[in-house]
Point group: C2
Chain length 313, copies 2
């Protein structure tokens, strides 16, 4: 994988997506080889045109001579491991280009798993030498927004008349957006959508010295505005990379690492809690509680005491 074998890359990704000890071991092996990739998250409601826009960005990146990897994440899809997502089929322009690697990831039973599997897969693509990793998520649910928001630059794609389709998570989208794109801007309502976004940004009170998310208009189907988006991504990258200590980018990555470690710890503890609250010892404790020999909090203490004696498996 490290010398450019695409089949090997696909295999490592499959392993890392699964989670568990082997997956973590694979992740640990590749991690030292990464660090050069820059990630761009692209999110928005289904049908907003994210895939077509991603396709345009691939074309522009390739024209600049960069290798590009795309991780397309669809929590609602049962397909994974390189299977073609709904609209992924449109990316056929780059199907035969060895400088482009496209991978789909879908939920394996539980949404929470994706939030950990996605950054692990990004690290693999990073180690495989892709300087650009585009992280495209389908939908604006909490997990999708979280995944796309954990990129170096996050692009939120909306459409004219977008308000209703993302109503449930407007605040979440506003929080993660570095760049807003109004795609299908040739339709009615593009200007209203821009004003809505302006008002939201105004109300959110961005500091004068901070990056103010630009609002771009694109028509991905024709390519209109995609060059400007590519340049704006580069401008955001330059802006957050500035400063003596690596600037906002370094802080953002440091925060992301802390969040991820916390999330892994929380998940592992959750698994342990489930494991501890089952079996004969647990049943005996429950019987004690029902017989009023001990109360539920004392029973929990006994179980937590058992945890402290366990090895970290």
């Amino acid at each position: 994988m490290l010398v450019g074998d695409i089949t090997a890359l696909a295999r490592v990704l499959s392993l890392v997506e699964q989670g568990g000890p082997n997956s973590n071991a694979a992740g640990a092996l590749v991690y030292p080889h990464g660090g050069a990739a820059y990630t761009v998250g692209i999110t928005g409601a289904p049908g907003a045109g994210k895939s077509t826009l991603t396709d345009r960005l691939i074309g522009l990146g390739r024209a600049d001579g960069h290798r590009i990897a795309v991780l397309a994440i669809d929590p609602s899809s049962p397909y994974s491991g390189g299977a073609i997502l709904g609209d992924r089929v449109r990316m056929t322009d780059h199907f035969l280009d060895p400088g482009v690697f496209i991978r789909s990831m879908a939920t394996r039973g539980h949404l929470g798993g994706l939030a950990l599997a996605a950054p692990a897969a990004v690290r693999v693509l990073d180690a495989a030498g892709f300087p650009w990793v585009l992280l495209e998520t389908v939908g604006v649910g909490q997990v999708e927004v979280e995944i796309a928001g954990a990129a170096d630059t996050t692009v939120v794609v909306v459409n004219p008349g977008w308000g209703d389709s993302v109503q449930a998570n407007k605040a979440g989208l506003l929080e993660i957006a570095d760049i807003f794109v109004i795609n299908k801007a040739d339709r009615n309502g593009a200007e209203e959508a821009r004003r809505d976004l302006e008002v939201m940004l105004e109300l959110s009170g961005i500091a004068a010295s901070a990056w103010r998310p630009p609002i771009l208009k694109t028509v991905a189907a024709t390519g209109e505005g995609s060059q400007e988006l590519w340049h704006t991504i580069a401008a955001h990258r330059a802006f957050i990379s500035g400063g003596p200590d690596g600037g906002a980018l370094a802080r953002r990555r440091a925060k992301r690492v802390a969040d991820e470690i916390r999330e892994i710890v929380a998940r592992r503890l959750e698994e342990r809690a489930l494991g501890l609250c089952a079996g004969p010892q647990f049943e005996a404790l429950r019987a004690d509680v029902l017989a009023r020999r001990i109360d539920p909090h004392a029973a929990a203490e006994v179980i937590l005491g058992g945890l402290d004696g366990l090895d970290g498996d």
Copy 2:
């Protein structure tokens, strides 16, 4: 408190509501004295008339010579510790009756806390000798439904034209309901509401031998139908108490205890995870991850290893 001192009871409840070691110690002290109380959960959308209905049930229970405690839980209210909730003021009929104890509980910062504080408070009221504890929750959010559903008999109160107000959690309400009450049944649409509920029950496929939730009509404001509700609660109690091993009631209570212990264990582990993911050791690990000396999963392992060495505080 155990000999009927109401001021002492109020103090123990305040202590138990707070959570933490002293709270748990108080809970452990009173727990052996309980076991005789029967709990009735009453839930439904705000404005459905739950308080007025509860008021009617208090009157009927008192007429039968029972002492009755009411725990009114409103996660959205900032008031707690016996403060008067919005519509609690209507319960003045019983204000001077020493056989009636009414307590309000609201959220203390986090909703999750209520899910543990409510059963702890019920155990105190049980130990204080109330044979009936009515658990009234305001609203149909997940936590409220969970709390009301953790009663021996759960009454779900709806109104004619109720569909929209509880749309978000219809399935949750259906799952917990032992008795449906269509309150304000003198209004238009009561019969349609009954048919809607019948269809929902039909679709849920209740086993022939199981309790099929009756659908009652009441007008709490005039008292119409409340006698039938009181009798139906008694009928449900008799139904689930039957059988050689205490029947469905014993199984229900055993499941509840297991759920509560699991919840306490999960919360405690969550607290520990938060505690572990902060401080100098965590910062050093994060720096190692950022420098690619170890990967996030390995960092989490180190932290989890530290957990195992801790005392159960």
